[in-house]
């Protein structure tokens, strides 16, 4: 699935000034995901992370292409591999990084942690550590948009492993009968921990299942941010037009172990192949090379972009480090919302 860098004229999307902005924003968000996660690796090795993290490194084009096809007012839910989603949706890095360290300034006040990021200010309604469990939640957000008559859509991230969960079926059926504005977006990275997608899925492409709900299903190269963006944008347009849900499946790769630092004694993938991925299917490098080949950006611009994101991430780490832990009583807050009928 290696994609050689195109040369010549840039694609239509990137040919004018706003298009160029879009292209740079794609790169910026991919870099934000990449560098944020590289920082968490460093924190892991420094013993500063309170828990394991599931990295989206290798999957940046999928999450960024999908999120940029939606707007800030649109909804999104995700899963345990959770950093990429809110970052791609535009969340503030300081609060995300502080959350990973369990700090009071974390986006969830330190109570969610790495697998459960949520930033309602950018439409991120939360990631679920219970695999598949947030799929109907995104569906419900789509329902709310429909009932309220807004043109919002809901983007629902799930993995190839989650595709076997019953709630996906229940949700896609409901979205199908009610024509809800939902985009079911499968990041098929080939594995659910050690189980290959061939072993866990009874069908080669999850997208095939879309036909069972009268919705379009598309397979897209998940290493190509523009391809993902295009496929998702089409699904978004369909949803906004009232034509209902779509399923987009991005074939992608998880470059690191299921959770960073997890040691699986018995190998389940060929490490020599894995080791080539950064050279062959790295979505950041692929896009970098194309932007230059297309003349959309220069090497210098991209280096500058990289270092500006790098400082942003560094600052986020510093912010997180110097932030205080929440006070003990925070453990007991927000179990319930305040309400007039509180018990005595």
């Amino acid at each position: 699935m290696t994609v050689s860098a195109d040369t010549g004229a840039p694609p239509a999307e990137f040919s004018d000034a706003p298009g160029r902005q879009l292209a740079l924003e794609m790169m910026r968000r991919m870099q934000r995901v990449r560098l944020f996660e590289e920082a968490t690796i460093a924190l892991f090795h420094a013993g500063e992370l309170p828990a394991m993290v599931h990295l989206s490194i290798g999957q940046e084009a999928a999450v960024v292409g999908a999120c940029l096809a939606t707007g800030n007012a649109d909804y999104m839910t995700g899963n345990h591999r959770s950093h990429g989603h809110p970052i791609a949706k535009g969340a503030n890095l300081d609060a995300l990084m502080a959350e990973l360290l369990g700090k009071a300034t974390g986006v969830c006040g330190g109570k969610g942690g790495s697998m459960h990021l949520a930033d309602f200010s950018v439409g991120s309604l939360g990631e679920s550590g219970i695999v598949g469990s947030a799929i109907p939640v995104a569906t419900g957000a789509g329902l709310a948009a429909q009932v309220r008559g807004t043109d919002q859509v809901a983007l629902c991230f799930f993995g190839d492993g989650a595709a076997s969960e019953g709630v996906l079926h229940e949700s896609m059926n409901m979205a199908g009968i009610w024509k809800l504005p939902v985009i079911y977006f499968c990041e098929n990275n080939g594995y659910a921990v050690s189980l290959t997608s061939e072993e866990s899925l009874s069908v080669p492409d999850v997208a095939t299942r879309a036909a069972g709900y009268s919705m379009p299903g598309t397979v897209v190269d998940g290493q190509d941010v523009l391809a993902v963006y295009r496929a998702t944008r089409e699904a978004v347009a369909r949803a906004r037009a009232g034509d209902g849900p779509s399923l987009v499946e991005a074939k992608t790769y998880r470059f690191h172990e299921h959770a960073y630092g997890l040691v699986v004694s018995r190998p389940y993938r060929d490490q020599s192949v894995v080791d080539t991925w950064f050279d062959t299917v790295d979505p950041v490098t692929l896009f970098h090379d194309r932007l230059i080949a297309w003349g959309v950006a220069t090497e210098e611009e991209l280096v500058a972009l990289h270092s500006s994101v790098k400082s942003e991430v560094d600052e986020a780490v510093e912010f997180a480090r110097r932030s205080p832990f929440p006070p003990p009583e925070a453990a007991y807050a927000d179990v319930y919302a305040p309400s007039p009928e509180e018990t005595r």
């Binding site: 969830c108 939360g126 009968i177 309400s339």
Partner: protein, 333 residues
């Protein structure tokens, strides 16, 4: 009471639900109603909803319990206030992950960002020959899950008032309706107030007394009243408390009563082990031990499944005689 019943017009349980839902939907356009067979109004509590509020706010759900509760959670997080009619409480199990992992936890785990004003209604459909797959009383399971509120009214006016409060509450509220009260038992005079609200978390003292406290849940509240009536002929003065809300429980009312009477019987239609009755007993012995003058006796459904045969079913549930026997044991102990 019996005399009054013939004079005052009584409120039915299904009418109470219907009125609560329709009043709140009229009051707040964010309230939507979803459930099975609502348009055909098969269960009888949805009359007029579709006509008044239209198909966008009144939807028939396909059979998909987990999806339904998850959709409600997401819709709530995006600004609606869904009421989900799951019809029978035995159907909650398929949605358990959504209840626990999404409805109950989302607000906490996201540091207060999420608000989940969802009401989930379901009927406790025991005592009627429906057998093991339709007769569960699963509310104790949910009491073990922080983040959920639980109401279980035993009179129609309470159902009306509590359900309205639940719909206005910003938390997920599970409303369990004891189907044995749908008939004559659960009626009460029709509230005249335009806005009849009963606050969550307040017990009702159904009958004051001095010798023993009898806490009764759902049908258990009625059995407790019947038993108290009969016991009074023997000179035993039983105080009957109906908690009405199980989470948050009105501990002050219960503890104050037991402190006075020194004796406690709890009547709970749930399975015995880890029942609401177990919780009430445990809490009382923890907090009122010095006042206790006899054992706390639980009158619950026996730990078995619900058998179909009419020859087998009734014996497994609490009844008036079991309550009376329990009170006598509590007094003797």
């Amino acid at each position: 009471m019996t005399a009054a019943r013939t004079r005052v017009k009584q409120l039915g349980f299904l009418q109470a639900i219907n009125r609560a839902q329709n009043e709140e939907m009229a009051r707040d356009e964010r309230v939507i109603l979803m459930g099975q067979d609502l348009r055909a109004n098969v269960f009888g509590a949805a009359a007029g909803a579709l006509e008044t509020f239209g198909p966008s706010r009144v939807r028939d759900l396909p059979l998909a319990e987990a999806g339904s509760i998850g959709v409600a959670a997401g819709a709530a997080m995006a600004g609606l206030r869904p009421i989900i009619d799951l019809t029978v409480a035995s159907f909650v199990f398929g949605a358990m992950d959504q209840f626990v992992s999404q409805l109950a936890k989302a607000r906490y785990m996201f540091g207060g960002q999420a608000t989940l004003p969802v009401v989930v209604r379901s009927a406790l459909y025991y005592h009627g020959g429906t057998a093991g797959h339709h007769a569960d009383r699963p509310y104790p399971m949910f009491m073990n899950v922080p983040g959920l509120k639980i109401i279980l009214p035993s009179t129609a006016p309470d159902l009306l008032g509590l359900l309205k409060s639940a719909i206005r509450d910003d938390n997920p509220v599970l409303c369990f309706e004891d189907a044995n009260l749908w008939g004559r038992k659960g009626r009460g005079p029709i509230p005249t107030a335009e806005d009849h609200l009963v606050p969550l978390g307040r017990a009702a003292v159904r009958r004051p007394g001095t010798d023993v406290t009898v806490v009764g849940i759902g049908l258990g509240a009625f059995l407790a009243e019947q038993a108290a009536e009969e016991l009074s002929a023997d000179g035993v003065s039983a105080e009957v408390i109906d908690p009405r809300t199980l989470v948050p429980m009105d501990w002050p009312t219960i503890l104050e009563s037991v402190t006075r009477t020194g004796r406690l019987v709890v009547v709970d239609p749930a399975n015995r082990t880890c029942s609401a009755a177990s919780e009430i007993a445990a809490r009382v012995v923890e907090e009122c031990f010095a006042s206790l003058r006899g054992p706390v006796i639980r009158v619950t459904t026996d730990d078995t499944h619900v058998p179909f045969s009419p020859a087998l079913e009734k014996q497994i549930y609490p009844n008036k005689d079991k309550v009376i026997a329990a009170v006598r044991r509590a007094l003797a102990g």
